[in-house]
């Protein structure tokens, strides 16, 4: 059986890849994808705990997160499309209207 530590290690790696993507990528679509990656890293950790504890609470929570992620992706993509229509760009460095 694969130790829980390995699952958590995978989760950690995915989470930090996602976090780095959110922090450093310029393209808003990539940023959103990175957010999805962070959410899924959490999902992996929840599944690992669920398996280690031998109950299904963690798995139930994962479904909620998947549904939430879908909704978030829909709204997020709609915003990105709306931004692209008005500003002809999805570069987050240029979307800085809310400043000063």
């Amino acid at each position: 059986m694969i130790p829980t530590t390995y699952v958590l290690g995978l989760s950690l790696i995915l989470f930090f890849i996602g976090l780095l993507g959110v922090l450093i990528r310029r393209n808003a679509l990539i940023v959103m994808m990175s957010v999805e990656l962070m959410l899924n890293a959490v999902n992996v950790a929840l599944i690992g705990f669920s398996r280690a504890r031998g109950d299904t609470q963690g798995q139930g929570l994962v479904f909620f997160i998947i549904a939430l992620a879908a909704a978030e992706a829909a709204v997020g993509l709609a915003i990105v499309v709306a931004v692209f229509r008005t500003r002809r760009t999805v570069n987050v460095d240029e979307i800085t209207l809310m400043r000063n």
Binding site: V22, L23, V92, N100
Partner: protein, 792 residues
């Protein structure tokens, strides 16, 4: 013995708090609801609450205090002294901080019972009078609300069992005085309506503040020396009060009591209008006349005399200070009386007369005749209230005119006012057998027969001479006032003369009652020469007569008269005749000069010494002197603070230049942080989160060395000590930390264990390097810490 006897003469009485509370409730009612209600309700509540306070005070005095007083006298006859008979009531613990504990406590002893009677009885009559005098005033409810508030504060002042409560009342009456002097703050008819009235109120308040400041300092000094401000407890602190107050160095050593008493005396000169703080009282006549009668003649201004009598054991500790008290009183008595010669405003004459009579009371308490001073306070309350109310009745009749040169001949048109006024004039002039004769003569006699070891042998003669001269002046200016107002031909203009009428019954009835008091109350305090009982002095004896504790220091404190002089009844009778003669001369001089208006010889006399006459008429230009010495410098300082400090330094330099630059720079720098780039914000957020996780996941790495629960820096050989790791952060149990110790050479001496503490004994002396290792087995994080430990 002292203590048991004291407690047997003290009883708790819940009646006490009703005495000040009733008028205060009346004030709250009238000030909050009075405007909406009719005048009938307003004066019913106002007069009713004071009458109720009078009744409660009388019941408490007669049924509860009198038996205690009687017991005191029985003890005294057997040579015992058992403290002061008193009723006490402690409402609640008011201030409690550190070693300061102030009760809102009330105390009714013979002295305060006299004051409560004067305040409520005379106050009630003046309330009734006000119903007539203020009948047409717009702010009827406000007036009675203030009057009740004053009565309540004054009762609190005289009933307070410690100086703090006394001071609350002291300030309360000051506020009411201010409010009532400026009562007609919007009175029409001048360029700036009522401005003079309002500034008279401010003047009274500010001058009183100066005295109050000294009063507060005096209280601080007493508290720092004796540790209490309770007047009963203070009497057991004679030793502390006699202690040396030495900020000036040992060469200028004076006792705490002398300095504190002097400061309290300054407070008293403010409230009781003595030199040098008397200047506010004449201006205070701007208030409605009943206010002048109640506050500025009968009650509030006597608070200073009451305070000195209340703290007589403090003042008696310093003969020098007692001498100052009496001298201030004597000089004020004569000084104010001479100003009374040249005043033409009926109320101003009475105001200076009040200052002068208050001076008499200070002579009384200053020569140790506390009962005599309070007796004069008592009789003065009656005849001076009667005089003021009579003056109010005259002003009422004269359509508001107050200049006595325009009066005259009012005796026929105002018969009741005339008779009561005349009786009070005779009383204040000190003619036998009216009340003023007895009270004033007691003071004169004691002034001459009491030597003061703090001053020279000339001292009693000087005080007596000043007081006797003041007695002459009093008789003269009072009868000048009487003849100009009531006798001769009427000098008023046609319109005013047509309007003159006697006042309504509710104004004249109080006059009659007060006049009866002014005539007859002197019989309560018959002089010792008659061998008849002096009820007043007997009643006050427990308060002014000292116990053995104070008597031990008595050779220092009690001004002792030369035996032969003090016993000489012949001299006492002789002095009575002298003062009677002096008063009669004053009256006849006034009669000859002012019987038919101002006689031509007055004009010739004033012309003969016109410079001096003008000086007296201008009240010795004291106001101008104070304006030059105090008011102008303060105003100039205020102008400087406004124009330079406030406008330039603060507004311009500090706010506009410096403050503007700081906010501008900080803003310009910090706005860069908010650049709209969400990714940058997230970097900050993640960084902060990482820091929090890092800190909270660190295992504890510090430990302490305990011996029997106490932290130690060194231990004895063989002594068992506990080494205990300190555990910052929370959830220690869930973290399942493990600890390992090494005691000297760095190699672990104990296995990994879950308990943060371990016991160990160091056997050999020397310096040890104790090392703690902590690990979190789940995360494999480790930390360690070493400390030096000395074993000797």
């Amino acid at each position: 013995m002292e203590h048991t006897a004291t407690s047997s003469l003290t009883a708790t009485s819940a009646l006490l708090y009703w005495i000040p509370l009733l008028p205060l409730l009346g004030a709250a009612f009238n000030l909050l609801l009075g405007r909406k209600l009719g005048r009938g309700v307003v004066h019913l509540v106002a007069c009713g609450s004071v009458a109720a306070a009078l009744v409660v005070g009388l019941i408490a005095s007669a049924s509860q205090l009198y038996p205690l007083w009687h017991q005191w006298h029985r003890l005294a006859e057997t040579g015992q002294h058992g403290g002061v008979p008193a009723l006490v009531y402690s409402a609640f613990d008011w201030i409690s901080a550190g070693n300061v504990s102030i009760n809102l406590g009330l105390l009714l002893d013979p002295l305060s019972s006299v004051m409560v009677f004067v305040i409520t009885f005379v106050g009630f009559l003046i309330h009734v009078y006000s119903m007539g005098y203020m009948a047409h005033d717009r702010d009827y409810a406000r007036f009675f609300g203030y009057l009740n508030l004053f009565t309540g504060s004054m009762l609190l002042l005289v009933l307070g069992d410690n100086l703090i409560v006394l001071f609350v009342g002291w300030e309360g009456v000051g506020v009411c005085s201010y409010l009532l002097i400026g009562f007609w703050y919007d009175k029409d008819g001048t360029e700036k309506p009522g401005d003079a009235n309002a500034s008279a109120g401010r003047k009274a308040f500010i001058v009183n503040r100066i005295g109050d400041f000294a009063f507060i300092l005096g209280m601080f000094l007493i508290f720092s020396a004796a540790g209490t401000l309770n007047v009963v407890e203070l009497q057991g602190k004679i030793g502390e009060l006699m202690g040396i107050w030495s900020p000036l160095g040992q060469k200028m050593a004076v006792s705490v009591a002398a300095v504190a008493g002097l400061l309290l005396l300054v407070g008293a000169t403010g409230k009781s209008a003595q030199i040098p703080l008397f200047v506010w009282l004449p201006d205070a006549m701007a208030g409605p006349t009943p206010v002048s009668a109640l506050i500025h003649a009968a009650t509030m201004v006597t608070a200073g005399v009451y305070m000195v009598a209340r703290l007589n054991f403090v003042f008696m500790l310093s003969p020098t200070l007692m001498g100052v008290v009496a001298l201030v009183g004597a000089v004020t008595a004569l000084f104010a009386a001479t100003i009374g010669f040249a005043q033409t405003d009926i109320k101003k004459v009475l105001a200076y007369s009040t200052i002068s009579q208050l001076g008499y009371m200070f002579i009384g308490v200053g020569v140790g005749a506390f009962a005599g001073g309070v007796f004069h306070l008592f009789t003065h309350a009656f005849f001076k209230a009667c005089l003021f109310l009579g003056a109010g009745s005259v002003i009422h009749a004269m359509s508001g005119k107050q200049d006595i040169r325009e009066m005259g001949g009012l005796s026929k048109k105002l018969p009741l006012t005339h008779w009561t006024f005349a009786v009070s004039c005779v009383a204040i002039a000190g003619i036998f057998p009216f009340s003023g004769f007895f009270s004033k003569d007691e003071i004169l006699w004691r002034a001459l027969s009491t030597a003061n070891p703090g001053w020279g042998a000339w001292y009693p003669t000087l005080v007596y001479a000043l007081a006797l001269a003041a007695a002459f002046c009093t008789a003269f200016y009072m009868f000048r006032l009487y003849f100009l107002t009531f006798r001769g031909e009427c000098r008023a203009d046609e319109k005013t003369r047509h309007h003159i009428h006697e006042s309504p019954l509710r104004m004249t009835m109080p006059l009659v009652v007060l006049a009866i008091g002014a005539a007859g109350l002197g019989l309560l305090g018959l002089p010792g020469v008659t061998h008849l009982p002096n009820y007043f002095e007997e009643w006050l004896k427990p308060v002014v007569e000292r116990g053995p504790e104070l008597a031990a220091a008595v050779h220092l404190i009690r001004p002792v008269g030369p035996g032969a002089l003090a016993q000489s009844h012949g001299l006492e009778v002789g002095l009575m005749l002298v003062s009677l003669l002096v008063a009669l001369i004053g009256i006849f001089m006034a009669r000859s000069l002012y019987r038919d208006g101002i006689s031509p010889s007055v004009g010739r006399m004033t012309e003969g010494m016109s410079g001096f006459y003008r000086l007296v008429r201008d009240k010795y230009r004291i106001d101008e002197l104070y304006r030059f010495l105090v008011v102008r410098p303060v105003q100039l300082l205020a102008l400087f603070l406004w124009r330079v400090v406030d406008a330039v330094l603060i507004d311009l330099v500090a706010v506009n230049i410096l403050g503007g630059w700081v906010t501008d720079t900080v803003g310009r720098l910090s706005r860069r942080l908010q650049n709209g780039n969400v990714q940058r914000y997230l970097v900050g957020l993640v960084g902060g989160l990482a820091l929090v996780v890092l800190i909270s996941s660190c295992p504890p790495d510090n430990f302490e060395v305990l011996s029997q629960g106490q932290k130690v820096t060194w231990v004895a050989p063989g002594q068992a000590v506990t080494l205990r790791a300190l555990q910052p952060g929370d959830n220690q149990d869930q973290r399942q930390l493990q600890y390992r110790w090494s005691y000297g050479d760095g190699t672990p001496d104990s296995p990994w264990a879950g308990s943060p503490a371990i016991s160990h004994a160091f056997n050999k002396p020397g310096r040890y390097t104790v090392r703690l290792e902590v690990q979190d087995p789940r995360w494999h994080t480790k930390a360690s810490r070493t400390r030096e430990l000395e074993v000797r």
